[in-house]
Symmetry: C2
Subunit: 374 residues, 2 copies
Amino acid sequence: MGQAGLLEGRREVRSLDLGLLNEFASIVGKRGLICSPEELHTYECDGLTNFRVLPGAVLLPSSTEQVQSVVRLCHREKIPFVARGSGTGLSGGALPVANGIVLSLARMNRIHEVDLPNARVVVEPGVINLDVTGRVASQDYFYAPDPSSQSVCSIGGNVAENAGGAHCLKYGFTTTHVLGLEVVLPDGSLVHLGGKTLDTPGYDLVGVFVGSEGTLGVATKIILRIVKRPACVRTLLAAFPTTNEAGAAVSGIIAAGMLPAAIEMMDKLAIQAAEAAVHANYPDCGGLLLVELDGPLAEVEALITQVDEICRSNGAWEIRVAQSEAERALVWKGRKAAFAAVGRLSPNYIVQDGVIPRTVLPEVLMEIERLSAE
Amino acid sequence: MGQAGLLEGRREVRSLDLGLLNEFASIVGKRGLICSPEELHTYECDGLTNFRVLPGAVLLPSSTEQVQSVVRLCHREKIPFVARGSGTGLSGGALPVANGIVLSLARMNRIHEVDLPNARVVVEPGVINLDVTGRVASQDYFYAPDPSSQSVCSIGGNVAENAGGAHCLKYGFTTTHVLGLEVVLPDGSLVHLGGKTLDTPGYDLVGVFVGSEGTLGVATKIILRIVKRPACVRTLLAAFPTTNEAGAAVSGIIAAGMLPAAIEMMDKLAIQAAEAAVHANYPDCGGLLLVELDGPLAEVEALITQVDEICRSNGAWEIRVAQSEAERALVWKGRKAAFAAVGRLSPNYIVQDGVIPRTVLPEVLMEIERLSAE
C-alpha cells in the first residue's frame, strides 16, 4: 500500500533490536508480530515479484489506535514503514524497506456501516473488494471498481493505487467512489478527509489521497459509494482476425456515442493463456473483444444490436451474447485470469499495467508486435 | 473568482497611493487600470449583490506575465487582491476587499488550442463558457458543464467555483472536465498542475485547485476536456399538481436505473417567473419536471417511453416532448432564466444555491413551503 516515512528511514535506519520488537509486541500483541525469517518471506514483495526486500518485521494491527501507536513509534525511532493490503498490486506499492516495518492491514477487515438510503458503506482498509458487493448485493447494490484481483485485493490497497478495472470506462476509478477517509499521518496523528456526502465543502483532499501510493499516510477507515445494480446486463463476445479490426470496432462503438459498462480487447496470447487456465470457452482468434452493456432493459436491447452491427462491419466473424449470468461470469473469469494465466506460459512475465491515450493505441500495439517478432 | 492574499491583506492594508497606481499602470498599461469611483462601482459585487465593497483599483492584465507582475507587486506591498471573471457567481467569490485590487481576467479570453483527436481545448480564464462549445460545435463536440449563466460566465470563474449546471447529473461538474492548469501562486510564481491527459501521474492537485475559490492562486491557462455530442437529444416536460408528485417521478426515474442528461424540477413561483420573462410556453401547474435524455437514437427512444410512463403513473396530467431544437432551446431558456426572472418579482431575492442530498429533499421542500406560508 505505501511507503510513508520512507525518506526519513533512508537517512538512518535503526535495526530492529529486541527492545523495539517488544515495544511493537506490546502494541499489537504477540500474535500481531511476525519476525521469523521464514514467515517474513511472504511479505518480501507484492505482485511486482521482480523486486524483493526482506522487511525487519511485520505488524498486524487490529484498530486505528494500534496503527497510530505503531506509526508514532516508527516516527520516534526513524524506522521506515510500508503499509500493505493483500499484496496484489503490480506496481510495487507494498515493497518493503530493508530492516523496516511492514504494516499489514489484513486484520482490519470490518464493515462498520451499511447505509442503503444514502448508498454508502464504511469499511476498514483490509476489507476485500468483492466483499463490499457481497454485503449489499441482496439489496441490488454493488461496489463498482473491479480490478482483476477483486476477489482477493483490499479496499485500502485500491485506495492507495486508485485501482480501476474492466468497468472503469463507465463507472470511474476508485477515486470516483471514495467519499471520505480516516487517515493516520506519518507522525501518528489522525485526520478526517471528505465526509459522507458527495463534494463536501473545502479542498478535495480525498482526491489527493486516493492514488498517493501510501506517501501521505495510512487510511484506517474508508467511506465508499455504492451503486444501484442496473436492471439488465448483457455481455457480447466478438472474434476478429487481429487486434487491428477489434480496435477499429472499439473506435466505432465510442464514435456512435455509446458508453458501454466495459470494453476489453485480448490478443492471441492472452486468449490462449486464459483458455488454458480457466476454459472460458473463448473463440480461437487473433483479436477478441468483450463488450458489456448495462442499464434499463429497453436501452440495453437497443444498443446490443448496434454493437453487433459495428463489430460485423469491422470484420468480426463470430459474435456471441452471454445468455445467462453463469455464462457472463465465465467470460469475465477468463479475462480476469489472463494476467496470472500468462504467468503459466512465462515465469518471467512482467506486466506493463499502463494507461495509453486512445489515439496512440494502434501505434503502441504495432510497436509491441514488432518487438515480439524480434 | 477568489481571494488569494486576503489574509495577508487583513493584517496591514496599504492604501493605493499614486506611486503604486503608476507601478500597476506600467504593468498593465493605462487602459488596463481602472480607478475612477464611477467605474469601480461596476466591480463592487458579483451575483451576490447583498454584499458590496468598493475596491481600490481594478487591473485588467492581458497575459500570464502581467498577472505574475501584478501579483508579485501585491505580495511585496501586502495589497490584498481578488481575481474576477464575469462576476456572475452567486457565492461572493469575486467580492473585493476594501482598498484592495480586483484582478479582472476579462481580457485574457483567447482559445489557444483546439485538439479534436484528443478531445481537448486550451483556454485562457476569461473565455466565456458557451464560446468553448461554439468553437467546437461544428465538429460535433461540446463543453459539458453548463451553469445557468453559461452565455456570460467565464471558464476561470467556473474553475474557481467548480461550477455545475443542469447537465451535471450525467456529465459531472467542472472538476470532471479540467485536465490541467497553469496557475500564478500568491507570491507570483508559476506552476503547472495536471496535463493534457486524464489521470496524469502524481497527486491530483488539479482536483484540489478546482473549487478552491481563488484561495490557492489564479488560473491563467486551463486545459479542458470536450465531449462528443450525442447522436440524439430529447427533452420532455411533465406537468404535475405539486412538486411532491414531480419529486416522486424523479425517484422513479432514478430507481429504474436511468441516467438522464438532466432532470430539473420547478415550483409554481419559478414557472410563473420564467413564463413572464421569456415566454417559455410552460404548462401552468404546481410542479414542472424537465427531463432530458441523450445518447444513440435507439437508446433515447426506448427510454423516453419509460420516462413518460413513470411520470403518468405519478400523476402527471400533461406531457410534452420538444419536437425541434428550437423548442428544446426555449425549454432550457425558461429554466436558465428563472433565477433572474424571480428577481423581477422580488428585488430582494436571495438565492440559496445549495446542494441537498436526494434523501432529505422532500423534507427540505416541505419546510420551505411552511416558511413561505408564514
